[in-house]
């Protein structure tokens, strides 16, 4: 009966296309918006994530997320180094400065990795060398920042700009995921970064800690807090705290949630209504099948197959379009750098589409099962 079910479905071309369009729309909108949401939210902790050699982030107890920094006195570096289980502790600066580029002012995020160990420096370069950060006034800019500041210009180092009346010499372009707080990331060694950031009594944003081999990072973090009174979080905890802050203190989740819900509802409405009309218009054909001896179980399987076929084709095209969006459109635009279609989104949207078609099928099947086969005797 499967072939008959599919022929009935495909034969009504306008509704078949309408049904698939509804599912494509729902799939594309949900998967694209969810992926953008994941991409945007992962930018909130991208700086933490990219410094993957660090086990613990130590900070002022008032700090709730990576962009809300309360600097601590430098002396804390030594105090942290004195805690049991700490293998290595290094300085790390993060702050916002106003840079002057081509006579224009631009707010940039300044990252200051440790002068000696380079922990916190970019790990992948597009142009130049990380070691060049040791040169006087040397800075590295991220790819997205470069394209933001010098749009449509080829990559070029040895360009100069200013921050707090001090010269910055561009020695490299890094391949990093942009941060949430600013479109431009500038890296300079810690000692330079505190000069660029202007005068302040306390300069140290974070102490980055590596724990000794065999030691538990959570335990060491607890020891640091106990011994220094500072807040110490494992990298994973700090990422989560940052994410949680943005989720609860901004409307991003609600906005994307509304769009995703809209995709679900509009897709369900288009597909639901079309499928219901399709089933309604084919009731006589189902009545004929029932009259000639096709039982309700077979009819149910036919309707489910029709729904599943539409769901699968619509979902496949929808996910394909989202993939094309991220491979072609997003990859060529600096704004979307690092944005991908995560497999979890693919799975969630699949479940959502199957749910839509299950709900739709449920109502349609009721109608078909209740159809009186004696309908075939009426003209």
């Amino acid at each position: 009966m499967n072939l008959i079910a599919l022929k009935i479905l495909i034969g009504d071309r306008a509704k078949y296309i309408g049904l698939i369009f509804g599912i494509i729309f729902a799939t594309f909108l949900m998967s694209q918006q969810m992926s953008l949401f994941v991409g945007i939210m992962s930018r909130t902790f991208s700086i933490v994530e990219q410094i993957d050699e660090v086990d613990i982030w130590v900070m002022d107890p008032k700090v709730q997320y990576i962009d809300g920094i309360e600097p601590i006195p430098d002396i804390n570096l030594a105090r942290v180094r004195g805690v049991d289980g700490v293998k290595r502790a290094t300085k790390f600066f993060k702050g916002n400065v106003v840079a002057k580029v081509n006579s224009m002012l631009q707010m940039v995020t300044l990252i200051g990795p440790d002068d000696v160990s380079f922990i916190g420096a970019p790990q992948k370069m597009i142009m130049g060398n990380v070691a060049d950060l040791k040169k006087p006034n040397a800075v590295i800019i991220d790819e997205t920042g470069y394209k933001y500041i010098w749009p449509n210009e080829p990559f070029q180092i040895n360009r100069e700009f200013e921050a707090n009346d001090q010269r910055m010499n561009l020695v490299g372009i890094a391949d990093t995921v942009p941060a949430f707080s600013s479109p431009v990331l500038i890296y300079s060694l810690y000692s330079n970064a505190i000069n660029y950031s202007g005068a302040s009594r306390n300069k140290l944003s974070f102490v980055l800690v590596d724990v000794e081999d065999g030691k538990n990072a959570k335990e060491v973090a607890k020891n640091i807090t106990k011994r220094t009174g500072l807040k110490a979080l494992t990298a994973k905890e700090f990422k989560f705290e940052t994410l949680k802050y943005y989720m609860t203190h901004t409307g991003i989740a609600i906005n994307f949630g509304v769009t995703v819900m809209l995709g679900f509802l509009v897709g369900a409405a288009i597909s639901g209504q079309t499928f219901y009309i399709f089933i309604n218009e084919n009731l006589r054909q189902f009545a004929v099948l029932k009259a000639v001896g096709v039982n309700n179980r077979q009819i149910l399987l036919m309707v489910l197959l029709q729904a599943l076929t539409v769901a699968t084709i619509g979902y496949a095209i929808g996910i394909g379009l989202t993939s094309i969006f991220f491979i072609k459109v997003a990859a060529s635009t600096a704004t979307f750098k690092g944005f991908i279609l995560p497999w979890q989104v693919v799975a969630i949207v699949f479940v959502a589409i199957i749910s839509i078609m299950t709900i739709i099928s449920f109502f349609s099947i009721r109608k078909v099962v209740a159809t009186d086969p004696s309908l075939v005797f009426r003209n």
Binding site: V292, V376, F377
Partner: protein, 228 residues
């Protein structure tokens, strides 16, 4: 000839608004195999209701329908469907072919519904189409066929599973006289044999000559029953 269908004391009541309408009143019929029976009468006399009850599509208020020893009124819904699938063939006024299926696919439905392999069903369908002279229409859609051709496909669909009873509802009403006659010739020639009964509900007096027996109904009752 053996008695294939026994309709015993069938009544059917419908509620229409506040009124109770008696569509059938104590109908008693016995139909033999090898018989082509026509049931006729004015609109609303209960012909189609009787046909629906004989098919197991409607359940009577009282009475029973026994087809080849099986009391179908006592069967569960699923068993009725199964009985219908194996023992009854249908021909309708408006042909009721599935619009997106070709002639051969339409004809195969009863076998496929019964779990017969698609290839075997197809071979059997080709055989029947050849039998009724429709071998050139195998892959045509209903929309590509004339009314007479569609009704002949419908006859093939009713015959493919070799049912005991063929039930026809106004099989010639939608056709012109010549085509109707042609369809009736195909129907009588191919469907009637000593193991099968054909029951036709019709208004079309032009086809009465094909009947072995004509039952006339009025107001839910049989008013005459003549052998021809």
């Amino acid at each position: 000839m053996n008695s294939l269908i026994n309709i015993k004391n069938i009544s059917k009541d419908f509620v229409s608004g506040d009124k109770l309408v008696q569509a059938l009143k104590n109908i008693e019929i016995s139909i033999n195999s090898g018989e082509l029976t026509m049931i006729t009468g004015p609109s609303g006399c209960g012909k189609t209701t009787l046909l629906s009850i004989m098919s197991g599509i409607l359940t009577p208020t009282t009475g029973e329908v026994i087809i080849e020893g099986q009391n179908i009124t006592k069967l569960s819904d699923n068993k009725k469907i199964e009985f219908r699938r194996r023992n009854l063939g249908f021909i309708f006024q408006q042909f009721n072919l599935l619009t997106n299926l070709t002639a051969i696919e339409n004809i195969s439905i009863p076998l496929i519904a019964d779990g017969v392999n698609q290839k075997i069903a197809r071979l059997k369908a080709i055989e029947i189409l050849e039998q009724i002279g429709m071998n050139e229409q195998i892959d045509k859609l209903p929309s590509e066929m004339s009314g007479g051709q569609q009704q002949r496909v419908s006859i093939a669909r009713a015959l493919i599973h070799e049912p005991k009873v063929i039930i026809c509802d106004e099989p010639t009403s939608a056709l012109d006289a010549k085509t109707g006659r042609n369809v009736m010739e195909v129907l009588k020639q191919n469907s009637l044999n000593e193991n099968r009964a054909v029951i036709i509900v019709t208004h079309d007096y032009r086809i009465f000559e094909f009947a072995n027996r004509i039952i006339e109904m009025d107001d839910g009752k049989i008013i005459s029953d003549k052998s021809c």
